[in-house]
């Protein structure tokens, strides 16, 4: 006698531990198989774009910290890049070097959070997370030296930085750079050739390069699919054109490639920071400007390669002290476009792995 089955719809989230914040997936299962999925957004929507219309250009820097709260430095840089393009502001060279140092440190910290949580979702409860957070803690200590804050840094300003690095920052940074490659080796030893990790992530959630480009997917996910596109190389901002580094790409575009690409990016980031430390010139890190910035009328789109992909700001100015419109192109939000196609047809356990491999950040998805 055949067993009678019927599809079951359940809500995964908004408080599920593997949804990285407050995200809800309405999933329909037929047994173990996912037959339909609908992401539900908006639990962390704070109206950042509307808030930005009522703040001065400098105040908005603090709003950008709270977008992707795991990579506040990169958000700061994305915003000031767009604003400097709109206002035609020159940045002192020392400030550019310090900016690159801080965003690359942030990239390492963000990828460490990814690695820890990704392994947590594969079942190594808390162990890997603690390993990764040990290293991340040192980066946050460095941020504390730079600007006094660990997560919501607000370190950058249009035309420069809030302050120069203190003298004890440099030895601490050098110590960290000395240790970090060893840490990455350790992670790699523990994870990369682990049989369980391989069997759960290999050929799971494969994303073809053509589909990824069509769906505007950016960042490590796009590179894991084999597309060699990184704004730091393709459209260098700050002083990236003087840096020597590689762009790691994946071969198949599965969950394992997304992990390995991020791991290799951490190594490249260490390389970039080392070059910056060697080359950084003396000088000021600020430019004098009016307290209330008034960029000329017009619009500009500025973007940077944030840890999660292309972070862009489209700023429209009407000549006043606050932007007429400040649109945020957030990589996490757009990277979820293909979620349904990647998951439907797979098993429930793959759902968690695929969603984890995208490393979305809800502060950025909902804004």
């Amino acid at each position: 006698m055949p067993i009678r089955t019927e599809p079951v719809t359940i809500n995964l989230g908004p408080q599920h531990p593997s949804t990285h914040g407050v995200f809800r997936l309405r999933v329909t299962f037929d047994g173990e198989e996912v037959i339909d999925l609908e992401p539900v957004f908006g639990y962390l929507h704070r109206g950042t774009e509307k808030l930005a219309e009522e703040r001065t250009y400098t105040q908005i820097v603090t709003l950008t910290d709270r977008l992707d709260y795991e990579s506040a430095m990169s958000n700061n840089l994305g915003y000031v890049t767009a604003l400097e393009k709109l206002g035609g502001i020159e940045v002192p060279e020392r400030a550019m070097y310090l900016r690159v140092i801080s965003v690359e440190l942030q990239r390492i910290a963000s990828h460490l959070v990814f690695t820890g949580f990704f392994l947590q979702e594969l079942g190594t409860f808390v162990t890997m997370l603690m390993y990764c957070f040990r290293e991340r803690e040192r980066i946050l200590d460095l941020f504390e030296m730079l600007c006094g804050a660990r997560i919501t840094v607000s370190y950058m300003r249009p035309g420069g930085l809030t302050q120069d690095a203190p003298s004890d920052f440099w030895p601490a940074l050098n110590d960290f750079l000395e240790d970090m490659p060893g840490y990455i080796d350790e992670l790699e030893e523990l994870i990369t050739r682990n049989e369980i990790v391989l069997s759960r992530t290999r050929d799971v959630g494969v994303l073809d390069p053509e589909v990824a480009i069509d769906a505007s997917i950016s960042g490590p996910i796009l590179r894991a699919s084999g597309v060699q596109w990184d704004l730091r190389k393709a459209d260098p901002y700050e002083i990236y054109s003087e840096m020597d580094f590689e762009i790691p790409i994946g071969a198949t575009g599965d969950c394992f490639d997304r992990y390995i690409v991020r791991l290799q990016e951490m190594r490249e980031s260490v390389k970039i920071i080392k070059q910056c430390v060697d080359k950084i010139p003396d000088g000021t890190v600020k430019t004098d400007g009016a307290f209330f910035m008034r960029p000329p009328e017009g619009d500009a789109y500025g973007c940077v390669e944030a840890p999660r992909g292309e972070l862009g700001f489209y700023i429209v100015s009407d000549g006043g002290i606050s932007p007429y419109r400040c649109k945020i192109r957030s990589p996490s939000f757009i990277n979820t476009t293909m979620l349904r196609d990647m998951i439907v047809g797979g098993k429930m356990s793959d759902l968690i792995v695929i969603f984890g491999s995208l490393a979305v950040n809800m502060g950025e998805v909902d804004r």
Binding site: D214, A234, P236, Y301, E310, Y314, I334, M338
Partner: protein, 147 residues
């Protein structure tokens, strides 16, 4: 470096193939008629010397007397970028054709614009609110939204 196509260069290319679709152009962008959007989008994506396969972002701005939709395009193969804009008059039920058929990446972004700016995208497969809940009154990013 990514080379940005000027509005003029883009206008020449589009006008050669689709006469009278370009309204005006500036240094950085080119305005096209909203009705011609899907066919121009397909042209921009599929023409080999443009090859704008990657839709960076879709933005909407409320200029009180009209809305403006801005498409930031990127060609990864040619390292080329371009900005295409379209105007959408009226505040009651503004509507422009959807480009989801051309670039899948527009899907969530167009839903977001409908939710927060109140511009409907004709032909979108799932034109529902995304950040706010169904039944929310008004569209918060409009300049006349008061609450």
């Amino acid at each position: 470096m990514t080379r940005a196509l000027t509005g003029g260069e883009l206008a020449v290319q589009i006008n050669d193939n689709f006469p009278n679709t370009v309204d005006e152009y500036t240094d950085i962008s080119c305005y096209i008629q909203s009705n011609d959007l899907p066919k121009v989008a397909r042209f921009l994506k599929e023409t080999p010397n443009l090859n704008f396969a990657f839709l960076r972002s879709v933005s909407a701005v409320d200029y009180i007397d009209h809305f403006e939709i801005i498409y930031h395009l990127l060609s990864m193969r040619l390292n080329l970028s371009a900005v295409v804009k379209t105007k959408c008059p009226g505040r009651e039920d503004p509507c422009v054709p959807s480009v989801v058929d051309v670039w899948r990446g527009a899907n969530l972004q167009e839903r977001e614009i409908w939710d927060l700016m109140g511009i409907r995208f004709d032909g979108h497969p799932n034109m529902k609110r995304i950040m706010l809940w169904e039944g929310f009154q008004g569209h918060p990013l409009r300049k006349d939204f008061l609450r």
